[in-house]
Structure formats: C-alpha cells, structure tokens
Symmetry: C2
C-alpha cells in the first residue's frame, strides 16, 4: 500500500487540538487549558489538555496521542498474521458544560496502521465520530448538530451520514439501562481505503468531518449559555452524567482498549464528568422536561 497518511494526519490533529482549545477558551472567557505531555513506556505518547471550572465549561478535555510499537496481543488475530508493529494516532475530546441546558459532547478521530518487520503497511483504517448528550432537549439543537454532520458527509460520499448515524445510535447504547447515551451523531470504525473509496478521498472525508465539529457544537453552546437554571436542573444533569460514567466504564471499547493496552489513566478518564450523582431509583415526573429527555433517549430518532 502506498497510501500512508500518518504524518499528515498527525499534523492535522495537532492543529485541530489547537483550534478547538482556542475556540473553547474564547467561549469560556474565564479559564484556560493546561497541557500535560505524557510518554507511553512502550512507545509514543500524547498531549492532554484540560480546562476545568470555567465560566461555561466545567470540564473540557482535548487529548492528542500518537503511540506505536510491537503489536499488542489484544490485536493479534484482528490484523494480518505477518503484522509485527502498530501505529495509532488520534484526537479525542469530551466537553462537560456547567449549564445543564448545554449538552455534553464527545468527538474522536483516529488513524490506525499495522506493519510487518520490513515496515510495509499491511492494514490501515480510520475511525471516529462525534455525538451529543443533552440533559434538557432542544430539538432544534439536535437538528442543527445532525444537519451539520449530514451536510459534511454528503460532500464526500452519499450514504455515509445515514450509515454512520445508525452506527452511532447502536454504539452509544447503555444496554443495562435500555437507554441511549444521547441523541447520537455519527460513529464509524475500521473504515479502510478500497476500490470505491481511495485513501485520499477517505482522508479528506476524515478532515472534513473533524473540521465540522466546531460548527456542529459551538452554535448550540452560544445559544444556551445564558439560559438560567435551578439547582434541581443541576441535580438532573449530575444524575445523567452518572449514565455517562456507566457507559464509559461498562461499554466503551475505546476506554477498555486504553486500559488494557496501558494507556495513561488520567488521559483516558479525562472524559469522566466532574461532579456526578447516583440517586436510588430516580424517576422524573411524567410530562416534565426531564421525562421528555428520557423518552427521547429510549429510542433513536431521525432528526432530519
């Protein structure tokens, strides 16, 4: 395979991290990101940026990593037999706003490559996506988010939005609660260049959709940040954040992969919400805004 986007992709995510952090700081107006560089003992490392206790954002983490080395046992059997080494780079972010009227969001874009002992690429793929988790549902926000994603997807390959939207609903499912984590977005994994979709076109799709994160999310933040909220609204947000923790620790394959392959704990758990509650058998009153959110989380919806 002559297609090798490793350096371009890494360059792209480093710049995207800069841009996202700058925009988040700008909207927040009070707090700045701090950065921790970390090294993976077996090869590579990353840069974790975290903003905490801001005016708008209670906790925002934007992590970039680039790791490589001997193929972990966990991956053997999933890649060509002659593979000896791997390379993975990605950007991953989770933003937990303070105001419960603003949804939490998560986005992730990653590139993966395995090589043989000569350094020849034997397999490679992209994965990623982004999704929205509202505590109080404003349907126009859900539509704006999905519309932005569909518009970008359609620029590249028709059908990607529809396929990746279903994949997202399917992935972010708290099966033990019979609830979806949020109102979805797009999710995809193991997307490989093939005869229909060249590496170059796939790469340009990834950049396009990753660049759509800010226009998909920021307008929602700006629209809702001045809304007032009560302490009861905050309690509801913290209870729902508990479901976010449940998903990430019980079901998320990314978290599980990170933990099993010796990723940096504090970077993996940057996604966990700052303050969380578990109240026994909390059940919103029928017809309340909380109940309405829950109803929507019971079954994925077509937003467009």
């Amino acid at each position: 395979m002559t297609f090798d986007p490793k350096e371009r992709f890494f360059n792209f995510i480093i710049h995207l991290q800069q841009e996202i952090c700058a925009c988040i700081e700008d909207v927040d107006g009070a707090e700045k990101f701090i950065e921790d560089a970390w090294q993976r003992p077996l090869g590579g490392g990353g840069w974790s940026r975290v903003l905490t206790n801001g005016e708008v954002f209670e906790k925002a983490g934007v992590n970039v990593s680039q790791v490589h080395g001997d193929l972990p046992d966990l991956l053997k059997g999933q890649v060509p037999a002659q593979s000896t080494s791997f390379y993975a780079a990605g950007i991953s972010l989770v933003i937990h706003p303070k105001n419960p009227m603003i949804p939490t969001t998560h986005a992730n874009f990653r590139y993966f490559q395995v090589t043989d002992s000569q350094g020849i690429i034997l397999d490679q793929w992209f994965g990623g996506g982004m999704d929205l988790t509202p505590y109080y549902l404003f349907e126009e926000d859900a539509r704006h988010f999905h519309k932005t994603l569909k518009t970008e997807c359609d620029k590249h390959t028709r059908g990607f939005y529809e396929k990746f939207k279903l994949w997202c609903d399917d992935y972010f499912y708290n099966s033990h609660r019979k609830e979806y984590r949020g109102i979805g977005g797009i999710f995809f994994d193991h997307i490989k260049p093939d005869q229909e979709l060249s590496g170059e076109r796939l790469e340009s799709y990834i950049y396009g959709i990753a660049n759509a994160f800010l226009p998909a999310y920021l307008p929602i933040v700006k629209k809702r940040l001045a809304l007032s909220y009560s302490s009861d609204n905050k309690v509801w947000q913290e209870i729902r954040r508990g479901r976010y923790v449940e998903f990430n620790l019980l079901h998320d394959r990314g978290t599980s992969f990170g933990l099993k392959t010796g990723g940096r704990i504090e970077s993996i758990f940057m996604s966990l919400p700052p303050t969380v509650r578990w109240e026994y058998n909390h059940t919103p009153k029928e017809g309340s805004p909380e109940w309405e959110t829950l109803e929507v989380l019971k079954k994925p919806k077509e937003w467009l």
Copy 2:
C-alpha cells in the same frame, strides 16, 4: 447431599437485614429506610432497602434477594453437567457515610445451589465477606475492624481469617490504578462443605461472620461521627468515591454477574455513592492526610 440450608439461610438474611437497618436508623437518628420489593421475571425477587440523605449516612443500601430458575448460560461449564436449575440467596449492603472521617463499608453474604431435574442438589457453596474503605485513615479503626473479623473467624476454623484477608486484598484491587479499594477485610467464594468442614459448621461460620458486621463497623461510625470536616475533606471523599465507582463498574464480578443475568439495575447500583467527582490528575500533597491514605492503599497491610 442431604445438607440443604436454603430456608435457614434465607430466614437468617431476612432477620439480619431487619437488624442492620434498625441499627443504622438508630445511629442516624434522622432518616428511615424505604423498602422496594421487586420480582425477577425469570423467578424470585428481592427487597431493597435504602436510606438517603440522613444525618450520618448519605446513602445506605441493604438488599436481600432470593432468585431461582433455569440455570443461566453464564454458569454452564462451572457446575456439574446434569445441573438444570439454580437457587441463590444473599444479603448485600453498602454504606456511604456523609462525614469523610467515617469509612464506607460493604458486606455481602450469599448461598448458591444447583440442582438436577429431580431437584437433587448437585453443588452448593457460600460466598461473602466485608471490607472497609476509609477516606482518612485512623489505624485503630482498621485494627478494630480486622480484629473483630479475626476473632470471629478463629472461633470457627483457624486460618480462615488469614486466607480470606488475602483473598479480600486480592479481590478489591483497582488494577488500572494500581491501588486497593480500601483497607480490606475478608472475602471468600465457592466455599463448599467437605470432609474437613461439614455443611453445619460452614453454615454456622457464615452466620457468625455475618453477625460480626455490626460490631465490626458501628463502633467506628460512633467514634468518628462528631468529628468536624472541611469542604476540602468532602471533595477528597468524592474523588475517592470515584475510585469506588471505577472498581464496581470495571472489576466487580458481582456487579457484572448481576447485569448479565438480568438483575434489577437500581438494586445493583444501590452500591454506587451518592455524589462523586472526577478531577483531572488530582494528586495530594506529600505528607498530607490524603497522601497518607493513598500510601496505605498502595500495598495491603497486616493490621493485627
């Protein structure tokens, strides 16, 4: 096997639930337990009792369940091949005090039996234990807890405390953090009657150790409940409660078994703390009381 403690054990745990709840209410002085009865669609059910927002206890859950039915797929291969049905009964509790100077505690006692199509018992065992999770360590409390357990264990079979103490340390380990959940206690599973230990002696050990829960824990609560604490102490408690959540969702086999076999979610998650925090890269100052607690959680200690 003629030994069949099913009815006696169930009777015992129902009474123990009563007694524990009464003592907890008595110490709390403000709040009472509420009870929810629930049914398992495939057979059996339980009684969950929860006390929340008390004066002393922020959340205390004491759950009794008795479930039975066709052998779940999950257990096939672990029990004799002719087994067709199972019966399980247990009491499980987690107590989260408000004051960070009082440790959280967990206890669990269970009896398991599998039978063939004629109702003949093919295999049976007991499991259980109790452990302590301090936020601020008072060594005399840890010693009192362990001493109470050892004294009771030694009444029945010498060596049980030593063996079950190691098992407990081994079990309640947050491997991803390289930290123990707390300062241990005892833990045991699949303890079956055999030639050395008759069913009757084993049963009497279980009752003895379960009855030791209140004398092991309550004196610690009473000794620490009037201690003053700061909002920083509370933040530290909430951060450590995050580790409790991580253990229960990532590593606890009981939680995982409950979720996989269709247990009642709200009863399984009664163990989760009421308010929890995840702060990025929180690191206590060397020499601080928080740091001292962490040091002890890095390596199991002999308390006696």
